[in-house]
Amino acid sequence: MFKSCEELQAKIDQYTKELESKFNGRDGKRYIMLCGGTGCIAANSLGIKEKFEECIRREGLEDQCEIRVVGCFGMCSQGPFVRIFPEDTLYCLVSEDDIEEIVERDIKGNAVVTRLLYEDPVTHERVAKMQDICFYRKQRRIALHGCGIIDPDRIEEALGCGGYRGLIKALSMSQQDVIKLILDSGLRGRGGGGFPTGRKWQFAYDQESDAKYVVCNGDEGDPGAFMDRSVLEDNPLAVVEGMAIAGYAIGAKEGYFYIRAEYPRAVARVRAIIRQAESLGLLGDNILGTGFSFRAHVRLGAGAFVCGEETALLNSIMGQRGMPRPRPPFPAVKGLWDKPTIVNNVETLATVPYILREGLEAFTQYGTEKSKGTKVFALGGKVRNVGLVEIPMGVTLRELIYEIGGGIQNDRKFKAIQTGGPSGGCLTAEFLDEAIDFDNMVAHGSMMGSGGAIVMDEDNCMVDVARFYMNFIRDESCGKCTPCRIGTKRMLEILDRITEGRGTMQDFDDLEDISSACKTNSLCALGQTAANPVLSTIAHFKQEYLAHIKDKKCPAKVCRNLFSYTIIAEKCKKCGLCFRNCPVECISGEPGKTPFVIDMDKCIKCGTCMSSCRFDAIVKE
């Protein structure tokens, strides 16, 4: 139990030294880090760890090595990783079979296993250090500070990596000064809305009330985004600390984490860190003898996207159906149990300790005039380097996609990048040199969103993508208000018609009518923004819609009713591979005798035949 800030500070200094000595080798050991992110675990990180331990034991190197699974390294498409200190060598796409060689050549021989280093997609050079890899070069880690560095289950490591220095600093300041600092930093909400965090805190501070609450929004509903999960899993103490700072600033004694139930590991990590923090006196009554008391609780989401909306979220914490209610009153005035409540996103809260710890300039040196700092994106889709990236705002889309993302997979042509998930929009090649920040993205008809960034290439059909998002929103509409409940259903029906080849020109007008009704009349932003993906794809890809409606063709050959597979008789070698691979047995013919034929009535357009044919005898048209 730490009784004072000085006592904690002394311990933090010790932990910091200990952690540093792992990385600079002063502890006399090689430090081997493995990525414990979901992607790498799925790709056998743990099997690799076992194999490593076995080799180390067999070679009698236990005293000279320490192996740890830490949080996500971010560059998911290159995992599983092995990172070795003090040299700081990063091995990519490692398999169990590579471990013997790593132990032999690197751990024992102090040489680098070149073939396992990252290969730059442009120069084809092998790169040994993380910070020299194109994916990491432009990144700056503020919200992700400590992620992929510390062992998230050990609070000592979080404390040794800057943890709680922000709160110590805050506790030495007045509440109003903390709020002023956050205001001056220009920090805006990372949950998508971009509302100035300091202003929100000021509203809540100004309320007279016997109880106030801080809520951390960890519902992360955007399908295709996992930034918040990564922070919660990989450095949960940073979010706890951010929440405690917010609590101190507005005068709250209690905080709630609202985390989606689909993230069991994040839930477990947050719970574990709260317990450890309580036992050390870093949460609870009279924290560090300062008179400030703060407790944190965990509540689970239960699978409803709309619960990411703040008033719905509060209803859900209060045990009700997660439906939004009209604002005002805003939660800062009337929130949980009618008490003043601030709702902040995970990434927002994780950024707060940095600002206190490192100071204003350390934060404002990054970003653009009105969007300070950094933003985490989950970069996915058709880029080479898929993963989590944290970039200073102001970085251009081109830098994000072509430098960090390493360009489009299989050298296909870039078509669009969708940000903001189901509420957002897409931007095309002509916008590639635009800077990423809150206002600039909106100015060009998209939005920053909470961090999903999906890259699409020429093989993606934009009408189909629009239909995908509308289907999502229709499913997730809570049903409370009519424009959203019925509007999203009608818009989906229209998009279904178009993608099935039954669309008419009237559908354009109807989409426009319904979307404007949804926008102006829905209760919450879910309905208000529901049509954004449709409107933005119509704006940039009208020709593609027209091809579906007028020519009954899907140019990207995605919409099933609008293309077919054909076996070219002259090219067919009658090998029968397609016939054997077809999952619905719709291909007929006799191996070695006649060319094969596809029965289009039964074909489900899965494309297995085309990818199995070795003679390019099957075409999609």
Partner: protein
Amino acid sequence: MAQLSKTAVEKIEGICDRHAAEPTPLIVILSDIQKEYGYIPLEVQEVVSRKTGISVAEIYGVVTFYSFFTLEPSGKYVIGCCLGTACYVKGSQKIIDQFSEILGIKPGETTQDGLFTLDALRCIGACAAAPAVSINGKIYARVKPSEVPNILAEYWKMGENAKEGTAHV
């Protein structure tokens, strides 16, 4: 309607007691029950209602609002096809269609033998593994439609073995 056993009732009441100190405990209670039993039928809701004083109507409203709570048990193997955007743009719709076609059930349904439930998931955060499928927590990466029958065969076999195992007991 099936009668709940006395121990089942006691267990549910125990879960309610555990959260009695919470100001608004309903969802926490239901989460625990869902975790313990795999579903929350009406009989169970009635027990919760009696114990907490919250009306069955309200409880039913909450259970049916959240997709995580179910009124019916799921299959032995829950196949979750990720339909997050990153998986979708890489063809995950074809994968779920394939499962659906072979099993003869729609997403959200369970096969009659109780072996499989097919679910459409929203982003499991394994975007580098797109299209990804998760079966009882095990993740299959970069799944192709042609691999689906083999994946299913693996579980059919496990299901068969398990059945034989119990037959001998």
